[in-house]
């Protein structure tokens, strides 16, 4: 039996890089760290994964962007972010003041018209490697809020994206998988083949809520990503499945609200976890984990 309490407080490694503990904050749920410092001592975290970063600034989706669902929530932020240069110039310097491992979550963009995702990822990796020292790159191939082809399910494409980012990165590369797939282990093997240093999962499930008064979808973008406790059983299952096919470090994400939930991910085979929706629900509690 694993000593779960001990694992919670032990350093965690990806390749040769050591993170002080396995408790990270998930991308999109902690911004770039600024506002969350009122509640959490960033120094204590194992890592902070900043908001999805794209090559160019993005203004994101129309509102409403969030809504509650049973034991969960939907979001369709649409990766509102100042672009990689904005992140490097305005955001990372702030985080550097804290001694928290910084992981940049990067997204390539596909729209209905054009897909620059592959070259986006390459450039993003290069720009980051050449301009700033960070502790990890998380490849977000799984954002449900950016219109376009479902590339997260194309194994050859996935493998290639990972290879391109890996080739151009100095920091460890983590690939974040989408749960909107029939074959999570296939995806895991593809990104391992591509050379990822670790796998994180899951991103949000694609969902929708309709307002029966207007008979229209609540979210401005109609569909959004389902997160929170509701999805934990799916996340646990996927981590468990991926653990069967790889020895790479796995970072479990999805519906963690309390310590017991983290332990459930450890039991499923995760080496570390990321806290997402919990940051909105009971942020104080995180301080009791360290």
């Amino acid at each position: 039996m694993v000593d779960l309490e001990k694992k919670l407080r032990s350093p965690f490694k990806i390749g040769n890089k050591v993170y002080p503990n396995p408790i990270w904050l998930a991308s999109g749920t902690c911004g770039f760290g600024e506002d969350i410092t009122d509640f959490i001592d960033l120094k204590k975290l194992g890592g902070i994964v900043v908001k999805g970063t794209t090559l160019k600034p993005r203004e994101g989706n129309p509102t409403p962007r969030v809504v509650e669902t049973p034991a969960g929530m939907l979001n369709s932020i649409g990766i509102q972010n100042p672009g990689v240069w904005g992140v490097i110039k305005e955001k990372i310097p702030f985080l550097k003041k804290y001694k928290v491992p910084i992981i940049v979550n990067i997204s390539g963009i596909c729209t209905a018209d054009s897909c620059s995702a592959m070259s986006d990822f390459e450039e993003l990796a290069k720009i980051i490697a050449d301009n700033v020292e960070v502790d990890g790159i998380e490849i977000n191939v799984s954002c449900p809020n950016v219109t376009g082809k479902n590339l997260a399910n194309n194994m050859l494409w996935l493998e290639k994206v990972v290879a391109v980012v890996k080739k151009n990165s100095k920091a460890p590369v983590i690939t974040k998988l989408s749960p909107n797939t029939a074959d999570i282990t296939g995806m895991a093997k593809a990104v391992e083949n591509g050379g990822t240093d670790a796998i994180s999962l899951i991103n949000a499930l694609l969902g929708m809520k309709i307002d029966i008064k207007t008979q229209q979808p609540v979210l401005g973008n109609k569909m959004g990503g389902l997160s929170g406790p509701a999805i934990r059983p799916v996340a646990i299952r996927m981590v468990y499945q991926v653990r069967q096919v790889t020895k790479l470090p796995i970072i479990g994400i999805g519906g963690i609200i309390c310590k017991e939930d983290i332990f459930e991910f450890f039991c499923a085979g995760a080496d570390a976890v990321q806290l997402g929706t919990m940051n909105f629900v009971d942020i104080n509690q995180i301080n009791s984990f360290f």
Partner: protein, 250 residues
């Protein structure tokens, strides 16, 4: 500046004050010491997962060691909130929002314009600029009017409009205001978006609006609660909820 904290606050009273409207009073010295007018609180109702996200409510009044919130029951979260009893505790993140430095308000003759539940978001600010404003207050029906006697002490004049004509003018509060636009040097408004837009059109210059939007984090990290401004999307929970009308892309 006031740092928001997550803490548990004791319910001192929770009473119905009008049809569908309740007022809950909490022992909350930290919030009283640290809030600014137009700031709000983010309340977790119930335990566990049933009401996952916090619900935002304006600080209606703050005094001594207590704050109160006036809320309208419109869905399951507010329905649950109305069940809270004296002595129970609520988990709250507060104070949140940018808040207003009252000393910067130079206007002498203001209009405060509230639509329905918006009255709850204007009260605290009104207390700080007593007798410098008139109140325009629109509701569906007279039995939904909230604590008008208190406003009589704060406002110079009060103009009420009801949809059904059961009190004051029968019709939109915007119509009442339209005729008096020239009398004011500033406007503070909270209500349905269509109403606020109308007010902005009538009074584009020195007008301020309190916006609402679905929120997830309430502390500025998720980009969930944004509003389109001329400088791009801004966060209502962190950069607002009060915005100058001219900033907004209406």
């Amino acid at each position: 500046m006031s740092k928001p904290i997550q803490a548990k606050y004791k319910v001192l009273e929770n009473v119905r004050i009008a049809e569908g409207y309740y007022k809950i009073t909490l022992e909350a010295p930290y919030i009283v010491r640290n809030y600014l007018p137009t700031q709000f609180v983010n309340i977790k109702v119930g335990t566990g997962y049933e009401y996952l996200l916090r619900k935002p409510f304006s600080i209606y009044e703050a005094m001594d060691h207590t704050i109160s919130i006036v809320y309208r029951v419109i869905g399951k979260g507010t329905r649950r909130l109305a069940e809270y009893q004296k002595g129970e505790f609520l988990d709250i993140v507060a104070p949140v929002g940018k808040g207003v430095q009252v000393k910067n308000i130079k206007a002498k003759k203001m209009a405060f314009i509230a639509g329905g539940c918006g009255i709850a978001s204007l009260k605290e600010l009104a207390g700080h600029v007593a007798k410098k404003f008139d109140l325009f207050y629109g509701v569906e029906s007279r039995n939904q009017i909230v604590e008008l006697e208190k406003w009589r002490k704060l406002a110079n004049k009060i103009f009420v409009a009801t949809d059904d004509g059961s009190e004051g003018y029968k019709g939109f509060v915007t119509d009442l205001f339209k005729e008096k636009v020239l009398q004011y040097d500033a406007v503070y408004c909270c209500g349905p978006k269509v109403m606020m837009r109308k007010i902005y059109e009538l009074f584009p210059q020195n007008s301020y609006f309190i916006f609402e939007e679905y929120m997830a984090c309430g502390i500025g990290v998720c980009m969930g609660c944004v509003i389109k401004t001329k400088e791009g999307y801004k966060r209502i929970c962190k950069d607002g909820p009060l915005f100058k009308g001219e900033e907004i892309v209406w």
